[in-house]
């Protein structure tokens, strides 16, 4: 065959390889604490905390990890239907959660147990959802923390709309929308970017890039680093070491300040790693290498904060022992609360379908009540 015939009009050049910058951060990565616990400086971001505040951050990290470990154990014992572990993402969640002001409002996915903790939501309420006693479980307005949203990406639009409400109120609150690397492929997330951008809404898009969307690696979602997406929508993006609680705190505070000042949205890509399975139903050995996990263990968010506290002599052995004990007590409370959590009454199925009721719901509630009553024993024994 002549040479020219082999290159027909339908032969395209091979796709270029995914650039390594997608999954290997370079100097753009904001870091204030190395994996070894060394404090480093950054030209744009910094935090100045009191000694007690550093210790409090560490305490948060330990406690949320312990909640997570306990919940995973409860699932294994059949007490929860499923659990989505935050293992490895504690710093991304505590750092951003602690950056929020009381009036700010957070819109989580289903994995933001660390943010929930920062917003004062009782961990038992999170467990209620995974146990199946509620589809929600807490009052979003009491905690300024929306209910978990399971449909990937939806909540980024809710956050943007909420931020548009903040604008109309003339308030100085900011809003944060959590989502994952997989969610970045959703239409809703991209629509939220557009809306927030054109309306200059006071919302921070906080992407926890944990490298995985169940079994699909980051490279299946993007061919550019996620934080760079923001520029296409007309607002800044920043990539932060998601396992560095200090850097996450600094970057999120700055983005929230920008939002409050009326400068519009920011995209934060918190570069982290899902150290556990996607959920307790998942088996990551089918799709990822143990060696990757081992490499990320060296960047553990708790270990580096602990090393920092030791090195800076901000905490002593008594402090660490006290935190361990607090974690044990919390775990015991979570376990006991879960085991004694009552199922709702059957007729609760019909509760709150509508704010103003519906004749159809009333009718079906009565039908089920009558049906159930037929099984209740009467004075003469069991009714028919």
């Amino acid at each position: 065959m002549p040479e020219s015939a082999s290159a027909g009009p339908l032969s395209f050049p091979p796709s270029p390889a995914v650039p390594s910058s997608v999954s290997t951060p370079g100097p753009e990565l904001v870091q204030l604490l190395t994996p070894e616990g060394e404090r480093v400086t950054h030209p744009d971001y910094d935090v100045h905390l009191g000694d007690g505040e550093y210790r409090d951050l560490y305490r948060d990290l330990v406690l949320v990890r312990r909640i997570d470990v306990e919940a995973t154990a409860l699932q294994r014992q059949g007490e929860l239907g499923i659990w989505a572990s935050l293992l490895g993402q504690e710093a991304a969640q505590v750092g951003s959660g602690r950056a929020l002001q009381p009036g700010d409002f957070a819109f989580p996915t289903y994995r933001e147990h660390g943010v929930a903790w920062c917003r004062g939501v009782d961990p038992l309420k999170l467990l209620g959802l995974f146990r199946g006693v509620s589809n929600g479980g807490w009052d979003p307005h009491e905690h300024n923390f929306n209910l978990y949203t399971i449909i990937i990406g939806s909540q980024t639009l809710h956050a943007t709309g909420y931020a548009m409400g903040v604008q109309r109120d003339g308030a100085e609150d900011a809003v944060v929308a959590y989502f994952g690397d997989g969610a970045s492929s959703q239409g809703d997330v991209n629509e939220a970017f557009i809306w927030a951008s054109v309306f200059n809404a006071p919302v921070v898009f906080f992407c926890q890039n944990n490298q995985w969307a169940i079994s699909e690696p980051l490279e299946r979602q993007t061919r550019i680093p996620l934080y760079l997406r923001a520029s296409g929508f007309g607002f800044p993006g920043v990539r932060v070491d998601g396992n560095d609680v200090l850097a996450v705190l600094a970057v999120t505070r700055a983005a929230l300040r920008r939002a409050r000042e009326g400068s519009g949205p920011t995209l934060i890509e918190a570069f982290t790693y899902r150290m556990g399975a996607h959920t307790t139903s998942d088996d990551p050995t089918r799709y990822r290498l143990q060696s990757d996990l081992e490499a990320w263990k060296l960047k553990d968010p708790l270990e580096r904060m602990k090393a920092f506290l030791y090195k800076q002599q901000l905490a002593d052995a008594a402090f660490f022992a006290e935190v361990e004990q607090a974690a044990d007590e919390l775990a015991a409370r979570v376990r006991h609360g879960c085991l004694t959590m009552a199922d709702p009454e059957p007729l609760a199925i019909f509760d709150a379908v509508y704010a103003e009721g519906s004749s159809l719901i009333d009718e079906e509630r009565e039908q089920l009540a009558a049906y159930l009553a037929a099984f209740e024993p009467t004075a003469e024994g069991r009714s028919s």
Binding site: F107, S134, N135, G136, D139, P140, H141, N146, L147, T149, I151, S154, T156, L157, H158, A159, T160, G161, Y162, A163, M164, G165, V166, Q167, R168, D169, G187, D188, E191, A192, I194, W195, V198, D351, A352, V353, Y354, A355, E356, S358, S359, L360
Partner: protein
């Protein structure tokens, strides 16, 4: 008393609602400067400003998704979806979020969001501009679904929908936008979900909603000339459905014909036929008959007259009901 079109009646209702509640915002594509492609929001942005009448990005999921967020912040959004066939990009936000948030929050987060959708055929439009998707929404728990058939109902029902603390899908019969009626704004409206007997009769009950109410009334007038006395019910609400009015009528006439533009298969008429058979079995002299669209996509507009129920198709069903 002023004669107003159905479109203008909704516009007047929107204005009245907005004057009474500063938390009401209108959001949609081209609803501001243009006043909407059907001019239903005409003049509202000029009078209420750009922060209350929002020309949104061309993004239906975004319209509903952000409306949900605004509702969480205490606002009462009225969303416009430009045409029936463009609601599907927003379907997920409507079904998975809007409809479920009150339930998910165990009553703590009401969703007072109205979604206005011009719907139905008969205007010679291109594909996606003539659909009747109401059954998808009526099938979804947590939503309320209504459709006015005339200017007076349109004026009151839009205000009732906006005042409702539940999400209401408000289907506007676009081919009737230009129908006129006297609008007495001082009267007391019936409830948003009440059906209404718009023509009493004794031989056969014909139930319709939205654009088909006029068709049913025209059919009743034609039947009268042949000595047949049809009772016409304007259903007004497809979720919930006002069963007492429907069942009362069927117990009187013994015969029921349901008319809608949407496909008959698994449409609102299917639910009506099933329930009426369950509840009024011994009153029925004939099976419940349904007149509606075929089990096809909406056809090219040169064929729509053959697709859409009309006076003759309704009378044909009436004849069949009476033949039992």
């Amino acid at each position: 008393m002023a004669q107003v079109t159905l479109g203008k009646a909704i516009n007047t209702g929107l204005r009245a609602a907005m004057e009474g509640d500063s938390k009401i915002v209108i959001m949609g594509e081209d609803v501001g400067k243009l006043g909407g492609v059907f001019r239903v929001t005409d003049g509202l942005q000029k009078d209420f400003g750009e922060s209350r009448v929002i020309d949104t990005p061309l993004s239906e999921s975004g319209i509903i998704g952000t409306a949900i967020g605004m509702a969480l912040r205490g606002y009462r959004p009225v969303c416009e979806i430009q045409f029936d066939g463009f609601v599907y990009p927003a379907y997920d936000q409507i079904v998975s979020q809007l409809a479920k948030i009150h339930y998910r929050s165990n009553g703590l987060c009401p969703m007072p969001v109205t979604v206005r959708i011009p719907y139905g055929g008969g205007i010679g439009a291109v594909e996606h501009h003539s659909e009747s998707p109401e059954a998808y929404f009526a099938h979804t728990a947590g939503l309320k679904v209504v459709s006015p058939s005339n200017p007076v109902d349109a004026y009151f029902m839009i205000q009732q929908a906006i005042a409702c603390n539940d999400p209401v899908i408000f289907f506007e019969p676009k081919r009737r936008y230009w129908e006129k009626a006297d609008l007495d704004m001082s009267q007391t409206p019936v409830g948003l979900h009440d059906a209404r007997i718009v023509r009493p009769g004794s031989d056969v009950t014909v139930v319709a909603y939205g654009p088909m109410v006029k068709t049913a009334l025209d059919a009743a007038a034609a039947a009268e000339a042949e000595g047949r006395d049809l009772e016409v019910i304007d259903l007004r609400s497809m979720s919930p459905i006002d069963w007492p009015v429907l069942l009362g009528s069927v117990r009187k006439t013994g015969r029921l014909v349901v008319v809608h533009e949407a496909s008959v298969f698994l449409g609102v008429g299917a639910e009506i036929a099933a329930r009426v058979s369950e509840r009024a079995f011994y009153s029925l002299e004939a099976p419940v008959l349904r007149v509606g669209g075929f089990a096809t996509p909406y056809p090219p507009s040169r064929l729509e007259e053959d697709y859409l129920p009309d006076l003759d198709r309704v009378l044909d069903a009436v004849d069949r009901a009476l033949a039992f």
